[in-house]
Symmetry: C3
């Protein structure tokens, strides 16, 4: 990952406007849709079982996020991942709050087992809970630092074949080719709800135009953090940060892409 | 439509604060509620079948938006449109993503046939897909220019009796009295999720206080675009645009209403 | 309630970051989650029956808001309140739109009767409708001033044992110890959707770290209004107000806490 490769992927997203289909949580839908539009992708959100296969059929990537899961939505998640695999488009999986309840943990593991996603992105607690590695999830916020989950992340990668992206002060992106560390970002980002979910959505946009999910995930996390830094510098708090973050994605220029 | 008539309707909304009941999609609920409040209306959002008839009973307009449809919600949409027709309040229908899946297209056509709405507002792809006129919907964004859909829009109007509003760089509002073109607006508005849905919501507020859905739709689209222009002039990207758009609706003054 | 006690509770929230579990409405989820994060709490939102008991098990307060209720969600609300009572954590109940439909009113009364919440927060119309005291709810906005509901609020407190918080230009917080009036706030706050819901969420955060729900509710309403005043002074309308409101909560300093 370097500035040139990141920028090439951003340009590709802007040029192709890939459709990214998300089954995600109610809390963040608006923000992740706006982030996808701002980076140049075309977001679609739909969850009815009746239209899942067709909707995936027009998409270039699928993002599954279990933040506010329930029975019907979980059925659609299974339908969507199967359709995505059949079509050959990348899947990003965000195990929001895994470890907080056994239902949530169970659903997440079943989804990964049924159709291993190209990319799994979560915080340290979530990644550890996915493998029952003793991480304690405190709701949806991590109670562990990202470096604590790297060993587990390697195991999860070995087991699922998925690129595993552990976000935190340092992001760790773990794939067959090794581990990439990303240090872009700003602490205030943790005070805006759903920026983790937005990171997963961006992983979807980057993977949609990329042959390599490992590079795509690392580039997406870099851009996420860069936009956060730009936004934080213009903001007085998490309210203005969220707004400026979208502007920063939209206005991103090559000279801003430093990692 | 002229500045005076637009302004008279805005003043009427501000004076009467009509209750606009929406069954809309999860992605945009917050934004459309805020837009309705900012223009002076009183938004209500509810979808339980058990309360649909009573909730429509306190409303002055009904907005139906199928962006994130599912079985139970569709049942409530049918109940709501029937209740609205019985009560004699205007219905605005927004066929989000029609053409993307056969389920979505089927539901939209059945809703229109069961209770033809006063106003149908969509982008060119959606309007063409509603009549099977060869428009290809690429998710929820249009892949056609609004002028391409005018002929189809006339047919849809002839068939349904509904005012048909095709939004785009130029908006076309098609009714028994002819076609009104509206050119207010700003290209950056297409990079904010759900501003089309917000346009439909405003059509509801304008129709709620107006005897003429054709004029109401045209006036709503004009105000939509004017607020977008004002906001774009103050914004650095789609994040700030969305925020300033709400402020612009709230502060709208007569001298700003130029079309 | 004085500045020192308010500030002590804010400090306690910031220090403990209590998990506040909300079953709330789709329209406001993002905003209330951001408000909770901004004040220093850790929001969780989940509604699946399968995980309700466990999710409440990690929370320090529960907020129930019926703004967009439906059958399955109501079942989870009952499960959640029972789990909260068993665990001994405070419950805040927000009867959004009660009085608008008999379904909504019925559900609200059943919820309160099954497990009386520590705090009930609503506008005047909602509080009056809860006791069938002749308040007419006009959708979700109040058609009565808060002072009109004080007598009803006292009765509701006597009947349920709950602290009753009637929000309006003046907020009335009614408990066993008497009535506290709070006059912080700004009229423009009524033009932002869901700030009432946000007030209920903050009541949850304050109650989570406090032994006294009466004081917690009063302090939360004071902080709500103070943040609104700070935000209004920097805003041009309700769009910017919403953003600055979050910043104001995040940056709240002792010298700003004047009531």
């Amino acid at each position: 990952m370097d500035s040139a490769s990141i920028w090439a992927t951003v340009q590709s997203i802007r040029g192709k406007a890939p459709v990214v289909h998300s089954i995600t949580n109610y809390v963040v839908m608006n923000n992740t849709a706006n982030a996808l539009l701002a980076i140049g992708a075309s977001p679609v959100m739909a969850h009815a079982e009746e239209e899942m296969e067709e909707m995936v059929g027009i998409a270039s990537a699928l993002v599954i996020n279990i933040g506010t899961l329930s029975e019907g939505w979980v059925r659609s998640m299974f339908l969507a991942t199967e359709a995505a695999r059949k079509k050959g488009i990348p899947i990003v999986f965000d195990p929001v709050g895994v470890g907080a309840t056994s239902y949530r943990t169970g659903v997440a593991r079943e989804l990964i087992e049924a159709v291993p996603p190209e990319i799994i992105r979560g915080n340290a607690s979530e990644i550890m809970a996915l493998l029952n590695a003793g991480g304690k999830t405190r709701g949806v916020d991590s109670s562990a630092a990202s470096e604590d989950a790297v060993t587990t992340g390697r195991q999860l990668h070995a087991q699922s074949g998925s690129v595993v992206c552990i976000s935190g002060a340092t992001d760790y992106i773990i794939g067959a080719a090794g581990v990439i560390m990303n240090k872009t970002g700003h602490p205030m980002m943790t005070r805006v709800t759903g920026l983790g979910c937005t990171a997963s959505a961006l992983c979807g946009a980057f993977a949609a135009v990329s042959a390599d999910p490992f590079a795509a995930a690392a580039e997406a996390m870099a851009v996420m953090g860069i936009a956060g830094q730009i936004a934080a510098a213009r903001s007085q708090g998490p309210g203005t940060l969220q707004v400026h973050f979208i502007d920063a994605l939209y206005n991103l220029a090559f000279e801003q892409v430093t990692i």
